[in-house]
Amino acid sequence: MSSSARTAPVVLGIDVGSTTVKAVALDPETLDVLWCDYQRHQTKQPEMVVEMLETIEAAFPASPRDAWRVFMTGSGALPLCAGLGAKFVQEVNAVTLAVEHKHPDVGSVIELGGQDAKIIMFQTDEDGRKTAAPSMNDKCASGTGATIDKCMIKVGLPPEAVRALVFDPSKLHHVAAKCGVFAETDIVNLVKSGIPAAEILCSLADAIVLQNLSVLTRGSTLKPRVLLLGGPNTYLPFLQACWRHRIPEIWEERNFAWPKDRPIEETVFVPDNAQYYAAFGACVYGQHEAEEIGRYRGLDGLRDYMQNGRKARLGASAGPPLVKSSDEVETFRSLYAIPRFSPPPLTAGQIVRAVIGLDGGSTSSKAVLVDEDGEIVAKAYQLSKGNPIQDAKELLTQLRDHVEGQGARLEVLGFGATGYAADVLEQCVLADVNVVETVAHMMSAVKYFGDVDVICDIGGQDIKVLFMKNGDIANFRLSNSCSAGNGMLLQAMADQFGLKVTEYAQTAFQAELSPKFSYGCAVFLDTDRVNFQKEGFSKEELLAGLAQVLPKNVWQYVVQIPRLASLGRRFVLQGGTQYNLAAVKAQVDYIKERVPDADVFVHPHTGEAGALGAAFETLRVVKRRGRSTFIGIDAAIALDYESRTDDTTTCHFCPNECKRTFIDTHRPDGSTARYIAGFSCEKGTVESHEAMLELVAERKKIARAFPNLVDYEARRAFQHFYEPEPIPHEGTPIRTYEIRKGFLGTKRVAIERPFQRATPEAQARLKRVRIGMPRVLNMYSTAPYFRHYFEALGVPKQNVVFSDETSEEMWVEGGKYGSIDPCFPSKVAQAHVHNLLFHQHQPDKGKPLNYIFFPVLTHVPSFIEGVMDKTSCPIVAGAPEVMKAAFTKEIDFFAQRGIEYVDPALTFGEPHLTARRMFECFGPRLGITEDENDHAHAEGMRALAAFEADLQEKGRAILETVESEDRMALLVVGRPYHSDPGLNHGIPEEFQVLGYPVLSVRSLPRDPEYLARYFKDEVARGQSPLDINDVWPENYSANSSQKVWAVKFATRHPNVALLDLSSFKCGHDAPVYGLIDSLVTTAGAPYAALHDIDANKPGGSIKIRVKTYAHSLKLHQEALEDEARKKRALQFSLEQKRLELLERKRAQLSQLRRDDASLDAEIERLAERLRAYAPAPVAPEPTPGLIQISERLADGRRAPASL
């Protein structure tokens, strides 16, 4: 029967998704599909729904409208339901019902949507009833369609080509799918490294699949058959292939019986008409509802909502607009619009003597030509093409053509580079200057605005905020790998509406209100954007709202200093984003609201600030040196290079097998420079095995010269370094206590009795028992105790086994079991337990593990005095329980291998309770007596004390050395487990190779006499130097307290600089961020932080931090040296003065005819000393910072500033 002839009612299912509307009309009796269609809604959801319903009405002219029922589902459906009389059905319920109806044999469903991802796992209970366990990734866009869409654009492949891609698991690169933004950053880096597009997309698919398999399944195993749904799964065969590759892999790993005789395409499959499942399921849901539910009320209600309801709802929740009147726009524009740059005209034959500054940025590259007077002659700009040499050649050509095009002649005096291209340019064109971006930006801002307080640079991918003091960077904040709030966000938003970013401001200024975005993560912002759009906000309003988020992201999310006024009052805004006046307006309003007397400047060459900084520095360096190393502009433009990416360039130094690109440039003098791109770690920087060995040897040499106690501590904690006392013989008299219960309670009575030993069998067994412990979390604080406890009992030291150090390979292999997503240090515990189960347990080699011991450590050792408590972080303490759940949930991996998992609760705040608990745990298991346990416990505690003492001794040696040599040492403040090189990403080592000895918190000497020197105020008021109650009385957390104390120490020790490491999501570090900031800021101690450390190593972000911090450390070291010189000069001057005074006294006495033999002797000694003293001449006061700061005089001229 045709639809036009149908006289019976229909039931409609409408799925309003983030990009499309899908609708089906079914026969309510049979659920046969009578009509279906889907359309992209271009964010006009209600309009599209009306259009489709009109089509359906036209298709069923004879069917009685009042008997129709409508069920709607999808992220955009809810606000539309009321108008139509429809019933809203939650998407997962709809999909579940559709799948149950159509595929009763399906065991799991994976649906990737635009903004979310869902996995449904069906379980059949004892009564044969099927229940669905859904899991939804709804907050974070990790592993969703939106990420794929964005990355497809970045890779630059057309959709047809993407659809034709074939999944190749042999060439995969690292992509962090944990967060959509992280993934994008990785993709951009891969593109720049010249990795083929197909490999990048396959890597992305793989990362997304693994992310969903590890997080969304919450550690459960998908049961066949597996149904793939959602746009990306339906349209991207390479993604389907990736699922088909990875899912069976997990089944194999977990010994899961899956139908191997069936083609995998049938086991993991995409059904026909997959896009309609949710709409169809909504109708099935309707079958469960009473007759009157979901009655179709026609289109009037929805039309009314479109005209009136939508706007009315918005008013209440909206915030103010960016500007209130057009006058305000004009005034603002006149004050802040960046003047158009017109290069000064050149005359034919003119000789232009200038330096070149080049900024090879992440998305675009810029170059400037600056003459000897610091005036800009020309600018060049282009989007980066992934090859820094080609980019530079093209930029230089632009500059040369500009000059020569006007008949002038260019004489290049020098060349300086900054940005990611700086390293390669330094090598191949012998740049005069290679300066880190932050410093370049600082120089440029200071040049134009003199004594500024804050420089805020917002680029395409990152935010840099520099706090200035005395004309140099006193401190800085950089956005982490998370790109929340950068220029790209605004760009992407403009793109969404098909606007050019240059039209952003004028559009946003038209809004009369703005939606209130929550600030922070860029992905959440995009989710907000979709929601606001659904609510009916216009593009003008959305653009205005998003511009207003920008300052919040900068000041509250990245900078985190709420009282802006404390930073000063002169602010410079720079970076490409400042071309967008809407962003500038939001920033200026935000700053002025908090610092009413602020001067906010916008850099006149905002996009080229970095390049200008490089140019100014080049001018200074070349002038000072008197010559340039640059190979010359013509030679640079003519630079011959070859780029090669093939099997010969693959790095084999680790299992990552990075497919590198070698760019070989041939300089005019015949020499060659090789630039290697596309590697993920330092090992990739060398070409051969010999070179690798050389690199390692070189680093080792430096490491020996500059000790790294973080690294030492991480290794030492797990080694055997203490010989426990042997267990006393049976019957040896011991003094102990006995518990006697009486009428008035439990009494402890001191007694002497013979020592009790275990049976000979038990003692013999101890020689064979093998115990595995994960090298993770609190074990970094306590491992010496546990190792030596077992050794003291008689377990051979080789039988006390720790898992390997955290590494990326270990994480990839063992990270799929967890059901939750906490901080990386906790999450990685599963990889360690996995390592013990699958690698350290070697029964075939006669080395089985009998126990995996992972104690719940509720309290950890702490040396801070007078604390509220010594608790461990609850996540860290609870990790052993989570691991137990993860590895016993479906399959008991321990039982399978005959291993017992033991996780007693222990508290290092209470040693006697710990001893008792160890006995309760191991007494029955190892057959030991409580006396033996107590002996082993005491030995374990001694080992722990020896470990701490050793660290302190080494720390003290370093401190005394740097003090005597006027050098800086770097103190890494983190939690003890940040010593794990897999967690700290080798950052301490970066500083070590720069020549700074590295201290750990626990290596700081705690000897009261030593500390009294630095904690004078505390000692004076009777407070222990190890007490932190004057800054933080809520000191419950042991590791946070130690961290705060270490910062206190560093602010009191002039030779100690701080490096603060903190993990993403760390809840115990959060309360002390503000404290540490107050301590460091008040004292003006050198400080850098890398917060939000996670599984992926943000190489670029680390590099820029290390370089910037190295710059300030260098300045601090210079200041220390100056200070020492001045102190010596002071000493000399004082002695001289004393001599002078004494001599005058002697003269006075002699006039009185009096002698004083002791005075004569004293004068003689002093004169002798002074004769031997050859003071170094006090150098003239060095220019503060790198740039001479000038200030504007009353007559408008500039003169050196008096600081």
Binding site: C823, G878, D1030, S1078, L1130, R1144
Partner: protein, 624 residues
């Protein structure tokens, strides 16, 4: 003779004094030289100046205590109760989105949203006092004090007092006083020191009354609201009741009479208890599950809209958990061969003091339960068993160590198991702030194992981040659908198994209004209230009086039989108990405690509990 008229120091030649004069001269020289050479001054060091807020006795009349943080009813009643004991009190309202924004702006990054919401709520209020009401900052700092419990313990929220100081400083209210319960020294206050906020028994009792009254009113309202025939009527009546109770607390008149008045009003709300509602047990992080505003997206209201009947967690139950913690921590340390120091160690306690502390906790547990019943009965809240803390701990222990603290500790896991095993709810919903350390970071990981061990449980874990409400609702709805189907099925099956129809039950209820009363609670068999009612009344419909009498007799006989069978064992156990040292110790401690209480000298014994209670929700904003 003067050698140098410009330089007095050398003019003296008496004894060795000239040496001192030279030193003084050198000091002055050094200062000048330091300046000339540009030697840096010693670094300044930061100390927190806001650590010891004081409220003096003479300020009591002029200061206003600001409170907030629990359920709407409790916050409102706390205001009334504290006014009743002579303080100016102002409830500053349920934390909302604007509070969250203020909290995020002035707080540390990476905090959890209960911290942002509660801290931000105070900042928002102070900013409003300054910018809208026009008070000067000095006035605000002088005239207002935020009164809260100092939290303790290992999670972020446990350290949130740090955050108050930071946010106050950064928002320009440097020096504003946040007075902590413990800082005032608990009952030690009663020694007569001249302090502004006197935490004497009168104060305590007022506070406990407000919390208990709020608890019972909330509990009964959540029982009635899903079944109300006239939409909105329960809320109107609850508002009336709140005012009644407020008046009674403020006037310090008979609170039980006020509760009785409330009962009458509540009993008049017509309900239809045959609606199949999904029973949803709300567990999770204390603040997220307690607040009733933006902090959890009005979760309770949303669940009711979606066809749920909420089983909420009461503040009293939280207090019982605090008591349990002290009791357990003491018990496990009592028999150590040597006592440890530290916060939980018993090094400073004599054997008798340890026994007394245990006795104290027994008394506190019973006392709380008794108090709760004393409030519950008059308002008509019957058959509302408070959880047995030992049982929850015991069933959770194989999955979640009882030693792990922070947030709800093992309770989340224990309650999920309890709900499944005892058919207490169709669905257990665990709500917690995004990234909550104990809940998202540990419990959720363990719950995945619990779910496989106890199949058939509908368990929904949701995080609140303060934004993204749509996704939150969507997720809850997804599970609510399953729970509703389960409730509907339970009711359908009950009709069938009891052999009655809905019409028959309705007819019966119309004739027997006692069973249709909003205060009537059918005996618990399954999770569905409607099904329980059907089970209760079906025999009354189907069976004759004689049949029912026979069935009752059969039941009674069976019970007697089983008692008799168990009697010898019980008698033996009782004899062993009576002869046990532990029993005698317990009795003697109880006696000692009662004697001390009678003599008014139990302050020391109270101290650890008070610290715990102070940290644990006795006053607004209090949790560990």
């Amino acid at each position: 003779m003067r050698l140098d008229p410009q330089n007095e120091v050398l003019t003296t030649d008496a004894g060795e004094d000239w040496r001192q004069a030279i030193d003084a001269e050198l000091n002055a020289w050094e200062q000048a030289e330091r300046e000339r050479l540009g030697l840096r001054q010693a670094r300044r060091q930061w100390v927190d100046e806001m650590l010891t807020p004081e409220v003096k006795r003479e300020e009591r009349e002029t200061i206003t205590l600001l409170v907030s943080g629990l359920t709407a009813a409790q916050d409102f009643l706390v205001e009334g109760a504290l006014r009743g004991v002579g303080y100016n009190v102002k409830y500053i309202g349920m934390p909302d989105q604007a509070g969250l924004q203020a909290g995020k702006e002035f707080g540390n990054r990476g905090q959890c949203n209960p911290t942002y919401f509660t801290v931000g709520n105070l900042i928002k209020y102070l900013i409003e006092l300054r910018d809208v009401q026009g008070l000067s900052t000095e006035q605000i700092i002088r005239d207002y004090v935020f009164f809260t419990a100092g939290a303790c313990g290992p999670c972020r929220f446990g350290m949130y007092v740090t955050e108050y100081r930071k946010a106050l400083r950064d928002s320009g209210f440097d020096g504003f006083r946040v007075v902590l319960f413990q800082q005032q020294g608990g009952l030690a206050q009663a020694t007569g020191e001249e302090v502004g906020i006197e935490l004497n028994p009168k104060f305590f009792i007022a506070l406990i009354q407000a919390l208990c009254a709020g608890d019972v009113l909330n509990a009964i309202a959540y029982r009635i609201r899903p079944y109300e025939v006239n939409a909105g009527e329960t809320n109107r009546v609850v508002e009336d009741c709140k005012r009644l109770l407020y008046k009674a607390l403020q006037a310090r008149s008979n609170i039980f009479a006020a509760l009785w008045q409330c009962r009458k009003r509540l009993a008049a709300v017509p309900v239809d208890r045959l609606r199949p509602k999904a029973k949803v047990a709300i567990i999770g992080e204390f603040w997220a599950m307690t607040t009733e505003g933006d902090g959890n997206y009005h979760l309770q209201k949303f669940l009711e809209q979606e066809g749920g009947e909420n089983d909420i967690q009461l503040t009293t139950a939280w207090l019982l958990y605090n008591v349990w913690e002290v009791e357990r921590d003491t018990r496990v340390r009592r028999d150590l061969r040597q006592a440890d120091g530290g916060r939980l160690g018993l090094a400073d306690y004599s054997p008798l003091a340890v026994s007394k502390r245990l006795a104290m906790m027994r008394l506190a547990d019973r006392g709380l339960r008794l108090m709760f019943e004393a409030f519950a009965q008059p308002i008509g809240l019957t058959k509302y068993p408070l959880p047995n803390m030992d049982e929850i701990a015991e069933i959770a222990a194989p999955f979640y160590s009882n030693d792990l603290r922070g947030g709800e500790g093992h309770m989340e896991v224990g309650k999920l198991i309890y709900n499944v095993v005892h058919a207490k709810a169709h669905m257990t919903l665990s709500v917690k702030p995004f990234g909550c350390m104990p809940s998202s970071g540990v419990s959720d990981g363990v719950q995945s194992l619990v779910q496989t061990r106890f199949p058939g449980s509908i368990y929904c874990a949701v995080e609140t981040s303060g934004d993204g409400a749509t996704n939150f609702y969507s997720r809850v709805q997804m599970y609510m659908f399953k729970a509703r189907i389960a409730a509907e099925q339970e009711l359908v099956e009950t009709y069938a198994s009891c052999g009655v129809t809905e019409d028959e039950v309705r007819a019966f209820l119309a004739k027997n209004p006692k069973y249709a009363s909003p205060l009537h609670v059918p005996p618990h068999v399954g999770a569905c209230t409607a099904a329980n009612l059907v089970r209760e009344v079906a025999p009354l419909i189907r069976q004759t009086r004689a049949e029912r009498a026979a069935a009752r007799t059969r039941g009674a006989l069976e019970r007697v039989g089983s008692m008799l069978r168990a009697a010898p064992d019980k008698a033996r156990a009782a004899a062993a108990w009576a002869q046990d040292d532990a029993t005698r110790e317990r009795l003697s401690a109880d006696v000692a405690l009662v004697r001390e209480l009678a003599q008014g000298g139990a302050r020391d014994a109270f101290a650890p509990l008070l610290r715990k209670l102070g940290a644990g929700g006795l006053v607004p904003d209090a949790k560990a």
